[in-house]
Symmetry: C2
DNA sequence: CTGTTAGCGCCTTCAT
DNA sequence: ATGAAGGCGCTAACAG
């Protein structure tokens, strides 16, 4: 494998000159550049990214850490991150956190193989994030709060979203509204639930714990929770699923029991994933500003890298998306 | 930022000893390990991944290059790649090729920032792949053939899939079957079309060029192509879309014109993307063995890295998936 | 078991 | 405009 040294030798110049020529630094005559480029070409020279990174103590790339690369990802989020990164001349890599603190993600975090990271992966421990984030290594966390002063938090206003969805169903005349929760350790779930509770309270509807059913954010979980609810007889008028995946599982469970949505029971979800528009009936849900969240995260990384002062937490508003899965009760 | 030198000094040992201790190499007494670890802890030492990579001329990670991180990805493919990579103790990163030969993907390829790469991204030029692949840098290409002896090709038998889907429709009694193509530069499309043609021929059905309509693999493109076909009056009995995305666009176009699928017209797609199961009617399509393709790609990388001899091209069979979008004509 | 040392390949100051 | 030289931080002989 040819190195810059080989190129320099073949071109008959010093290494430094070759480096300047190769990197387009305005310090060498065009004749020399020519020679160097030609030599590089002939030797099929390729610069070593790792050596370059080491020397410059900078990789010019940021990492997006997801709990599962093959997961149902928020493509809008990724798009926001990708475009913001590219428009700043940085590169982006995505890595998975399967394996938790000994995953690829954790290796990139711990060994600072990138200049900054955006984390959307519960299975990366907060300790790891705290231990990794540092002045020259900002980390933006999207799914929780974290202590380190170098780790910022961009969140979506889940509580507001939960409130609006619930209120909408109340306004449509529903009085008993179940809540199918996400996993209990999920901050997002917690907030959505609080919004739900608040809406109930503001409309003088009593909260009944029997209407809170445990789910886990998966389609399968939503399906099971719904089956269970149906088995208990006595259905609520409406059900608010803590995310769309579960709501879609629920739709399936209702269909299997010949319960029509929304005629027999109304349902709403949260997230506005792509599928939601295509299921039957199209799902009423709460859209998260994912693109914006992604773009903001990247923006913050660059601000921190530039040494600018930034807030520690950002809170983005949600949008309510009305489709056909909730009916108006006369 | 503390380096290994600092750790060694504080622990009162030589750097090599610190290195051994830190890397768990069986060469130092446990007392020394203790000391070193403690010093590292106190200094909040983090090894520099880039320095380590440079020294070992090896990153222990492989890259999966996709044309768009936020795209409608084959999650099964990613899962296959991910699991195979992890089970070999390697790391995986995904990077995008938006920007073509000056994208993040190309930087990783050109600068050999990883030990091997899997490419599923038409907008990375074959020249770039040829120029990057080398003995110690295997590249597996999933979407085309490429010259370099260090770049292998794992492909799905698109022709067979196209043949089976077409034959299925013929067997269901359809005589006029349109083909909505993908972009013309797509090898996959080409092969699917050949399968279609062959099935027609084998069943003595004449191919009529009016039944070949141009699409581009996007939902929007399928929608437009279908609209156009409808506008021309005189519909075929069935239509074979070169991929599911287009078929779904087509479904929408038919629905808008009150044409019922499959009662009025039958449709089949290709890919078996996740959505296909959920659209109305569920789409009959051809499943690609994506998980297997991903896992095989990784497997090949390791074989090449180990200096083993491998075939240059692999061809995986498809599965036909019967759902409800094709009806039997009596 | 521990220490010394020579680079990995590149960038960049400094001198020419 | 070009060259010489010193590391970036780490690993792995090699010597003791």
């Amino acid at each position: 494998m040819a190195t810059i040294k080989d190129v320099a030798k073949r071109a008959g110049v010093a290494v430094s000159t070759a480096s300047y020529a190769l990197n387009g630094i305005n310090k060498v005559s065009s004749a020399t550049i020519e020679k160097v480029l030609k030599a590089a070409q002939e030797l099929n020279y390729k610069k070593s990214g790792t050596a370059s990174d080491l020397k410059r103590t900078k990789t010019n790339t940021i990492a997006l850490i997801l709990s599962d690369l093959s997961g149902p990802y928020f493509s809008e989020l990724i798009k926001g991150v990708q475009e913001a990164t590219a428009s700043n001349g940085y590169d982006l890599i995505a890595c998975s956190s399967v394996g938790g603190d000994k995953s690829t993600a954790s290796k990139f975090l711990k060994e600072k193989r990138v200049d900054g990271a955006i984390v959307l992966a519960q299975n990366i421990s907060s300790e790891l994030i705290n231990a990794s984030a540092r002045e020259d290594f900002p980390v933006i966390v999207l799914d929780r709060k974290v202590d380190s002063p170098y780790a910022l938090h961009v969140k979506v206003n889940n509580r507001q979203g939960g409130y609006e969805a619930t209120q909408y169903m109340i306004n449509k005349g529903h009085r008993t509204i179940a809540y199918i929760s996400g996993p209990l350790n999920s901050h997002d779930n917690e907030e959505r639930f609080k919004g739900y509770l608040q809406a109930l309270e503001d409309h003088d509807l009593p909260y009944q714990s029997r209407w809170k059913i445990s789910g886990d954010f998966t389609r399968e979980g939503g399906y099971r929770a719904t089956k269970m609810m149906i088995a208990q007889q006595n259905l609520p008028e409406a059900v608010f699923y803590a995310n769309d995946e579960m709501a879609i599982g629920g739709l399936q469970a209702f269909a299997e029991k010949n319960l029509k949505v929304p005629e027999d029971i109304s349902v709403a979800g949260f997230d506005d994933i792509q599928l939601s528009e295509y299921v039957n009936p199209p799902l009423t849900t709460v859209r998260q500003p994912k693109y914006e969240a992604g773009a903001l995260a990247v923006h913050l990384i660059f601000q921190m890298l530039a040494g600018e002062k930034v807030e520690k937490t950002y809170n983005l508003p949600t949008d309510f998306v009305e489709r056909l899965s909730v009916r108006a009760k006369k």
